[in-house]
Symmetry: C2
């Protein structure tokens, strides 16, 4: 039996202090964390080395090892990212609206921290620091649960950060690490009602699905991106090729990359050969419906699974549609609601597409790769929400706060 209740109680107690700490004190603690990370880099690297050795022994993939590995340079990058978070505007205490009620009560709606934010994530030690820093900046205690392959690195990082908090005059328990990395500890976090005000899973589709299906605490669903680029009959051909190339090949592993291109039949004969030639530089594998296969002989046939899949790779599904309506229905059925794009010179097509497509970000004539907290001006992001509750799209510091109405009266009764 994993005792997350006692961790939850410590988190709540720390939250009572942190939620009342001013921005200056939180920023001081963040600076102390950055300094402590640099200072303790050798000790952190030693523990990370042990994690790496164990992972190599288990025969983990090269991509996995790359995500797990720290280096002097990477620790410097992590510390610098913490200092960048210091520079962002304080989200706590912002008054977003208010009014004086008819009866004279002065009502003020203020942004306050959630309280305790949980994160479940995979073997990426940088997430340990990034999540802790974003939570601290927004006045939230974090309860972190990484995966077992990174546990020694995570313990080292958490201890360094906890020591820095202590020096800066805040409770070390503002950053708590769940050292038990069994499945039971993840399950216990998902049902830690009364202690966890929010849970954010960060990782692959499997992890996110598990959390969404099993959590009884409030969850933000992040990161699944089955994104489409629709090439309208009235598209600028050169622009359409450039946008698709960028959306597919600039970084295929991320959630805002394009997975399926939908092409209006009137332009398909010209667009598809040009696009295939342009994307050849990245050896993109095409998988098309029957009409695409006619236009691009030799490509693989796409099936239902292709429409549903977020490849995260140099693979592109392709379908020729009769009209925009068919494209809209395809997107309504298969989109994960992340980012969708139309390339068109038609005002009417742009209007219909942006009104009808139900996604966090809908683009006209620009690559879906721009969906990102930094690009959208949020400063930093803790994930990209594909749910509609609370926040949709990049989740920044503001979205790590909730509301509190404060009402100043003079004896009013109802």
């Amino acid at each position: 039996m994993v005792d997350l209740i006692s961790l939850g109680k410590r988190a709540k107690a720390a939250s009572r202090v942190l939620s009342c700490a001013g921005a200056a004190q939180r920023d001081k603690a963040l600076r102390a964390i950055a300094a402590a990370l640099r200072e303790n880099a050798p000790a952190i690297l030693k523990e990370n080395g042990a994690d790496m050795a164990a992972a190599r022994e288990r025969g983990m993939t090269k991509a996995f090892l790359d995500r797990l590995q720290l280096s002097g340079e990477r620790i410097e990058g992590i510390a610098a990212a913490v200092e960048e978070i210091v520079m962002l505007q304080d989200p706590v205490g912002v008054v977003e609206s208010g009014r004086t009620l008819e009866n004279g009560i002065r009502l003020v709606k203020t942004k306050v921290p959630f309280g305790v934010v949980g994160m479940i994530y995979e073997a990426r030690p940088n997430v340990t620091v990034d999540a802790a820093a974003l939570c601290l900046k927004s006045g939230n205690v974090c309860l972190l649960r990484g995966s077992k392959e990174a546990i020694r690195s995570n313990i080292a990082l958490a201890n360094v950060m906890r020591g820095a908090l202590d020096k800066a005059g805040l409770p070390g328990d503002c950053i708590l690490l769940v050292e038990d990395t069994t499945r039971e500890s993840a399950n216990a976090m998902m049902t830690l009602n009364g202690y966890l005000d929010l849970l954010i899973p960060r990782g692959g589709a499997g992890l996110i699905r598990t959390v969404v299906e099993n959590a009884t605490v409030p969850v933000i669903e992040t990161g699944v991106g089955n994104c489409h680029t629709y090439i309208d009959a009235h598209a600028d051909l050169e622009m359409a090729v450039r946008i698709l190339d960028n959306a597919k090949t600039s970084r295929p592993s991320v959630c805002n990359a394009c997975e399926t291109v939908l092409v209006h039949r009137d332009i398909a004969g010209r667009f598809l050969p040009a696009a295939k030639a342009a994307l050849a530089h990245a050896n993109v594998e095409w998988r098309g419906d029957a009409r695409s296969c006619e236009i691009l002989p030799g490509i693989k046939k796409a099936n239902e699974t292709d429409w549903e899949t977020e490849y995260g790779d140099y693979i592109l599904a392709c379908r020729v549609v009769e009209n925009m309506e068919e494209a809209l229905l395809h997107i309504a059925r298969y989109s994960s609601g992340h980012s969708e794009c139309i390339v068109t010179e038609s005002y009417e097509s742009a209007e219909i597409f942006t009104a009808r497509v139900d996604a966090a970000a809908v683009y006209v004539n620009a690559s879906t790769r721009f969906t990102d907290g930094g690009v959208f001006g949020l400063g930093a992001e803790i994930g990209i929400s594909t749910q509609k509750l609370h926040i949709r799209g990049p989740m920044g510091l503001r979205e790590l706060t909730t509301d509190k109405y404060i009402l100043f009266g003079s004896g009013q009764v109802r």
Copy 2:
């Protein structure tokens, strides 16, 4: 096996039309609904009469029968409430922020409907119309599941509303009723992922707990109110008595009523006897801790359960505290995060209380009874959220929408 999937598919199809309908068309449909309710009052009352007869036969309580019963006057009130919703500002399409990105992309953050909103509620036929009207105004299709005792009333009301939608040129399926009122249908709704964008339970604590524990679709937790009034050492005695009397006795069954009064020991000897005398008009039963029992001899002793309970009745728990810190810890432990109040003339006490108490609404010198969408200026409310995700406090039309980023580019790639 309850076939909610096919209802879900119909809801999604209707949502594609409704989400693009303009405010004028939605308002026209709401007016048609109000007219149709009046016109069909006799038929609705006949079905309600059958529900009432069955409920009487089952020996339901007087309070239950009162909530279930419709009358000509009540239907007129329900229709008038729909017309009031027409008058509220359209929440759809509001641009809350936007900017031109460095690369020239014009980014606009717009409010859009959730899509399909589910409601699970108890035997109150007025909720059927109220929920449908708020959803329709905000561009959402609603999937309604009331309780079996009101099923004939609900079917009649839903049919009348669906007919009115049809006349107004919108799909009847914008308002869908789950006619199966078994436990299975409720469970199926809670896990209708992919079709239900949001689920709002409306009713008693048991219903809400069940939904929060079992739902895999996004949920808004509403309505549980274990509210406290803290009488500070520096309170105006007369004001403190007036506020407590109002918070406890003006309508004890509602969620913003006071359940526990916490009294600073320095004022307890004067406050408690005065308050007990003042609340005697409503025959309020007091349950106190040891010190309260000394000051108010003869009152019942309070136990742990009393601190935890939302009585919803003319019962008041009472505790004398050493200092404000003890009051804050009591509230942190037992509050449901709904509405909390301090009565004080001390600036410092007010500052500390409003900063430290973690609730949707925190009052200084005013009755907690004001927590209400109408009073707060939201126009109407579909419930009062006690969770921190998405919305905290009264949930109005704006909170029935989510965000969509629309990005207008001219060929930008990353």
